[in-house]
């Protein structure tokens, strides 16, 4: 169901909702998967992002997202210069990603103090995005909700443990997705919540032995 605010909005830095606002959101999501600001970023642009991205400010929009700027932040225009000042080394290149991808897609590889994360995201129109891959796991996240992302051993009872903790703190789940590369390996868990996850729930979740790489990502859309 379409909302009035989907039509009259978003408030955003131009020139293109898909090439600018959406690109910024992909950067924001990727940043959320680290424990702080990224130190290096390798941004690979695919399809229409590669062809017309520079003229649309896609490079600046993604850099801005990586710095934590939202699509309506005027600093997006100077984000490449601000990234340099902030000590974030970004490289941009064009690529042809294997498999089926939306024409407006970017792969972003970030590092910080030995931590690394690789995200593939697509800008699917009107500033909306879908993140399709996180660290090699196939996912489907829109960023329209605050999200909880973590990796867990593929053992029974993880979802039950997590949902119990969330329920106890009154954190309501909007969507839940678990994806694994193979049976018995590791699985990525993504919970989209109605409200940002509470500090108490985060602490309890970190205490689950099978859970690692836990990140609470704010709503980006």
């Amino acid at each position: 169901m379409i909302s009035l605010l989907d039509i009259i909005g978003p408030v955003m830095v131009g020139p293109s909702s898909s090439h600018t606002a959406g690109a910024c959101r992909i950067g924001l999501f990727a940043r959320g998967l680290l424990d702080g600001a990224p130190q290096t970023a390798k941004v690979e642009l695919h399809g229409s992002f590669a062809r017309t991205g520079v003229g649309h400010g896609t490079d600046r929009a993604i850099a801005g997202g990586l710095l934590g700027f939202f699509p309506d932040d005027e600093r997006l225009r100077e984000s490449l210069e601000l990234a340099e000042k902030a000590g974030l080394a970004i490289s941009f290149s064009n690529t042809k990603l294997r498999g089926e991808h939306h024409p407006n897609t970017a792969r972003i590889t970030l590092s910080r103090d030995g931590q690394q994360t690789v995200v593939i995201g697509s800008s699917i129109g009107a500033g909306r995005v879908v993140i399709t891959s996180v660290n090699g796991f196939a996912v489907e996240v829109t960023g329209a909700f605050p999200a909880l992302v973590f990796v867990a051993q593929d053992v029974p009872g993880i979802v039950a443990a997590v949902t119990t903790i969330l329920a106890r703190q009154g954190d309501n789940i909007a969507t839940l997705r678990v994806s694994r590369r193979r049976k018995g390996g590791e699985a990525i868990h993504i919970y989209e919540l109605d409200q940002p996850v509470s500090a108490a729930a985060l602490e309890a979740l970190r205490a689950i032995p099978a859970v690692s790489s836990l990140h609470a990502i704010p709503r980006i859309a």
């Binding site: 909302s3 989907d6 039509i7 009259i8 003229g55 649309h56």
Partner: protein, 293 residues
């Protein structure tokens, strides 16, 4: 929202309220946002639109590629037969917003960034000549949003899917309804303004040079605003378009679905594929990639 504009108009007339009031009530009834939150978001959008018009009319902006900028201020000093009228002020405001957009300034995508100049062009052009309150303008934004929601559900709001008729054409339809409501026309007159406006933008292709939201997008927002003013003027005079508005919207969708891909934001046809269009795009993009301005 609504799947048919006729349905919304009938309900508004039955309840004796405007389309904007109906849109605000309907949105609040969905329960995702309170009415106060929706009005606050629309007021913020209105103020961003005002800021963009003001910024663009300073006249010093150039787009990222350097292809556009500096035209809005010329309209602010128009010398033609329509100088000093709503018409010229609407063109100036529409150009101003699109120049800001092309220069990576802050705008409201309404319904998209590429069509973002039309609605503020018409509404703020009218506001320069009439004493509308913020509440009037917020309600008119809601009217425009209702029309846009119907177009989104029946056809498309994406140039890549439906050509420019789905972006500046839809924006013009939205602006026509907003304008009629601001000027005190009935919901039925607003509906006919949408039909009279959108019949004039049917078939409009999306053919931006180099795929950039610059040429002809900036100018097409001004002509989109002009089309909306034509629709408003005809509808307020009592002109009634013989094809129902929802069928006009469906026609836009049908034309979009069968439109050649060259005319859907790919820069493969239309003005983008002219010898000059290709040359300008190539020159500018090569310079950009070298790190030039």
């Amino acid at each position: 929202m609504f799947d048919a504009l006729l349905e919304a108009v009938e309900q508004a007339e039955r309840e004796g309220i405007s389309l904007g009031e109906l849109a605000l009530r309907t949105e609040a009834e969905r329960g995702l946002h309170s009415r106060a939150d929706v009005e606050a978001a629309l007021l913020r959008a209105l103020n961003v639109m005002r800021g963009a018009v003001e910024r663009g009319l300073q006249g010093d902006l150039r787009s990222v590629s350097g292809l556009v900028g500096g035209d809005a201020i010329m309209l602010a000093h128009a010398v033609g037969p329509l100088k000093g009228t709503v018409f010229t002020d609407a063109l100036a405001a529409a150009l101003a917003v699109q120049e800001v957009n092309a220069a990576m300034g802050v705008i409201v995508a309404a319904p998209t960034a590429g069509g973002a100049g039309v609605l503020p062009g018409v509404m703020l052009g009218l506001a320069k000549h009439h004493a509308f309150s913020d509440a009037d303008l917020v309600r008119a934004l809601a009217t425009a949003g209702l029309v846009g929601a119907v177009v989104a559900s029946r056809a498309s709001l994406s140039g890549a899917e439906g050509g420019c008729q789905a972006e500046t054409g839809a924006a013009a339809g939205m602006a026509a309804a907003a304008g009629v409501e601001l000027l005190g026309g009935s919901p039925s007159a607003a509906m006919h303004a949408v039909a009279l406006t959108m019949q004039g933008t049917l078939g409009l292709v999306c053919d931006p040079l180099g795929g950039l939201v610059e040429v002809p997008c900036v100018y097409r927002n001004a002509t989109g605003a002009a089309m909306a003013l034509a629709g408003i003027e005809m509808a307020l005079a009592g002109v009634r378009f013989p094809i129902p508005v929802d069928e006009v919207i469906d026609t836009m969708g049908e034309i979009g679905r069968t439109m050649d891909v060259r005319y859907r934001e790919t820069a493969g046809g239309g003005l983008a594929a002219t010898p000059t269009g290709r040359k300008l795009a190539k020159d500018r993009l090569v310079q950009l990639k070298k790190g030039g301005g």
